[in-house]
């Protein structure tokens, strides 16, 4: 009896599941189906994630306590200096404020926190409640800015506004208010911004080091190890490299429209993608010396890590992976990186991929691979069983699905504490995958300890 066949895809979601080689279209960019137990979060969460790493800013959540408390110091974004962002500040609205308005409390909270912490700026996140009770957050921010001299910026992020994606947009709007207000006179010719790099476990520092060696200055990492003053002067850069395009596309677009800075989508995950990103930046400036140095960096770095990775490849070859991540761009890189480890992606899903993203994902996946948009635990479990995967790559919410079924897991979310970006990151990734996939514990897991009934030949084998 196959348990996976018991799990049916909800009718409303049937067209959000697509198998390569079976034709049809994949629907995406739509609201989550009520009751589907989506893995997505809300607009507020999206804003909070994107702006969180700005370490010298005050981040205050205007609303009842829940919204602020679940993201208190859980993320892996590192700061080289201030640690203010790791706190959880909330207006903790009570019933009386919900009835009579929370403006007074917000003002008092902002003034008090600014005086105590002297931040470089303050971000004020609106939650569902604020969206409903109609507090004039903009006016409060203006008033407090005048009073304290610290710029207070509203982030229009009530949860019901949409998924994380709508929150990304609101965060970009908020961050953009700072752009263009700083001095750019000392920025050299060869200068870029890194957008959508959040310095999880110090990844931005690794990437910035590559650029330093090439001779390209990074004006601002947005928002990893972020600083308010960097945002103020980031319009002085000549190129925006945009990783995690879902979160930062809007800011990149504004920088292009209003400051004429071209953008390029890149990824710093895996050897191939990291190298392409470095070359893209070097090529942009048209200086052959930069390209020479970029090639040198790539050569040096790859020679450092390639032998070890080759070793892992031998041990991981032929294993099957499922991945479910936030944005599609990460998914592309993961498919490529897994391939570099000799592994095959049999399920690739994202919370908020766009049609364009999925188009690319479809192209790079092998026949038979299932692609799924805005999935849920039951569907993911179904595919893990159907495809008999050896490894699941996702975040904390996906981890128990894998573990309960005796499947290895690699955390590729913002909460992780291990750097997976860049050349060195690829080695960490291989280690992470191998540590789990090759662990002896699966031999004891009930689902893996009995002989697996061979799967009926399906077309995903045909393509390999």
């Amino acid at each position: 009896m196959s348990q996976e066949q018991d799990i049916q895809i909800l009718e409303a979601r049937a067209d959000q599941v697509w198998t390569k080689g079976k034709g049809g279209e994949l629907a995406c960019d739509r609201k989550s189906t009520a009751g589907s137990v989506t893995q997505r979060a809300c607009a507020f969460c999206g804003s909070r994630v994107v702006l969180y790493p700005i370490a010298d800013a005050l981040h205050i959540v205007h609303g009842p306590i829940g919204c602020a408390v679940y993201n208190w110091d859980i993320r892996g974004s590192l700061s080289s200096g201030p640690q203010l962002h790791r706190n959880s500040f909330s207006t903790d609205l009570a019933e009386r404020e919900v009835i009579f308005g929370g403006e007074k409390k917000l003002k008092a909270a902002l003034v008090e926190l600014i005086e105590a912490n002297r931040p470089k700026a303050a971000f004020v996140y609106s939650t569902c409640i604020v969206g409903l009770i109609g507090d004039d957050v903009e006016a409060i921010c203006k008033g407090v800015t005048r009073e304290t001299g610290v710029e207070c910026i509203p982030v229009d992020s009530p949860g019901f506004k949409g998924t994380k994606k709508s929150g990304y947009q609101a965060a970009c709007e908020a961050a953009y208010r700072l752009v263009g207000t700083g001095d750019t006179s000392k920025i050299p010719k060869h200068a870029i911004n890194l957008l959508g790099e959040f310095n999880i476990a110090g990844e931005a520092w690794m990437i910035r080091d590559y650029f330093k060696r090439i001779g390209i200055e990074v004006v601002a990492t947005i928002t990893g190890d972020g600083r308010v003053d960097e945002l103020r002067r980031c319009h002085g850069a000549s190129l925006n490299l945009v990783q995690c395009s879902g979160s930062m596309a809007h800011l990149a677009k504004m920088l292009k429209e209003h400051h004429g800075i071209p953008m390029q989508r890149v990824s710093f995950f895996g050897f191939e993608d990291t190298a392409s990103a470095l070359y893209a930046a070097a090529e942009h400036f048209g200086d052959p010396e930069l390209m020479r140095r970029a090639e040198q960096v790539v050569r040096e770095e790859i020679s450092k890590y390639a032998p070890k990775i080759k070793d892992y490849r031998k041990r991981l070859k032929g294993k099957k992976a499922a991945l479910y991540v936030g944005g599609a761009f990460k998914a592309f890189s993961l498919v490529t990186a897994l391939r570099a480890l000799g592994m095959k992606t049999v399920l690739a899903g994202t919370q908020t991929g766009s049609a364009e993203d999925y188009g690319q994902l479809k192209e790079i996946c092998d026949p038979g691979t299932v692609i799924v948009d805005d999935s849920n635990p039951l569907e993911l479990a179904k595919f893990v069983l159907e495809k008999d995967v050896d490894l699941f790559i996702g975040g904390v919410k996906e981890r128990p699905i894998a573990f309960k079924l005796g499947v290895a897991f690699c955390d590729h979310n913002h909460e992780r504490k291990i750097p997976l970006a860049g050349f060195e990151g690829m080695l960490h990734f291989a280690e992470e995958v191998a540590r789990s996939v090759l662990s002896p514990v699966w031999k004891l897991a009930p689902r893996r300890s009995r002989p697996v009934i061979p799967e009926e030949p399906s077309n995903h084998h045909a393509g390999s």
Partner: protein, 468 residues
Amino acid sequence: MTTTVDQDMVSRHGGVLESGAPGAATQNACKLCSPLGAAMVFKGIRNCLPFLHGSQGCATYIRRYLISHFREPVDIASSSFSEDDAIFGGARNFGAGVENVIRQYEPELIGVATTCLSETIGENMLGMIGDYQREHAGDGPPLVHVSTPAYLGSHVDGYHAAVKAVAAQFVAEPASRDAGRVNLLPAMVSCADLRHLRELCGMYGLKATILPDYSETLEGESWDAYHRISPGGTPLEDVRGMGGSAATLELGHSQAEVKDTAAGWMEKQFGVRRHALGWPLGVRHSDQFFTSLSEISGRRMPAEIEGQRGRLVDSYVDAHKYISGKRAVVFGDPDLVIALAAFLSEIGIRPVICATGSKARKWRELLAAEIEGGGEDVEILPESDHARISELAREAQPDLLVGSSKGYPLARELGVPLVRIGFPIHDRFGAQRMLSVGYRGTQELFDRVVNALLEAKQENSETGYSYL
């Protein structure tokens, strides 16, 4: 690195926060929101799926927080409000959401909790549930509803409100009374605590109906097949029968001050005698718990439990010189803090700061009554936050902290151990299995406390003795 470090902003200790006078803002809250408490309760009923009526972020955040603590699947559905629903009401989403949950999960019960959003727009939950019942005319699973806006109370209130809602909806008029059955309404204890409490009742010949019992759903076995809803939890059938139990044990000092709790209601409605007790943590409060079990069962304390008590007291004596006069900061849920303060007082550790982010009836008085010699020298902080706790702790210079993982930054800053208990525990493994109730649980907690202090002493000693 091109960034400059603004020294003013970095705390002296590389820790997180310097400020923290009580004021308008809540800084590093010492509480969670009420739907989380309700979801915990629903996870403790067999084949029940929690459903939050509001934006989907609430469900997602709470799921992630619970998964990080328990390391188990925690599926919580949401009606996924959009902007239109926030304006025009979420009835359509609610209906569709419930149908999808039934289709996917085939639950025996759907536990509906509201959120700030649905409460503020004044959703008519009873009307929507009525619509569902009419449409299903008895064929679908029942829905139970609890009102949990986060702007009223904390996760602790959400927890108790959900227990009450489940009891009020399902406990039925009993045909007869079963002298061998007892109801147990615990607080947010660990899975190991729940199992131990059941075992203890069993040792007195009593079969316990525990509401909620998430000991299996949130600490399950490795599976050979996928389960839509984790196995375990109290069957609804058993909940229905709670009216016929011999008595109800309800844990939590501050709960005892509330009349219309689930136990209070069952006593009034069906004459099930309510035993309002503190957490059975420490010798004194465990004694009270076992006295209640004796009263209900008519049995003396079993020799095995007597042995546990005797060994616990013996260990108190053996270790007292290591811990006597030490000073602790305690934080967490109101009733846990009271229980810990009582326990620490009993073993000679002064709980110099006792804090909770929640609000509980007569908490200050109840707490002071548990502290040896009254609590005049003790900072008692209801409705507080970690910034305030940290500020006072810097002055108090305690020897240890007792509470959740959220105390770690302070422990690190002060260079003192943190004995982890409560929720969330996100930085250690096995929180589900940590036992701290009854004599046996107290023994484990006691050993953890003593060893934390011994380890600190050893670590800080220049000589590095291996014999202490």
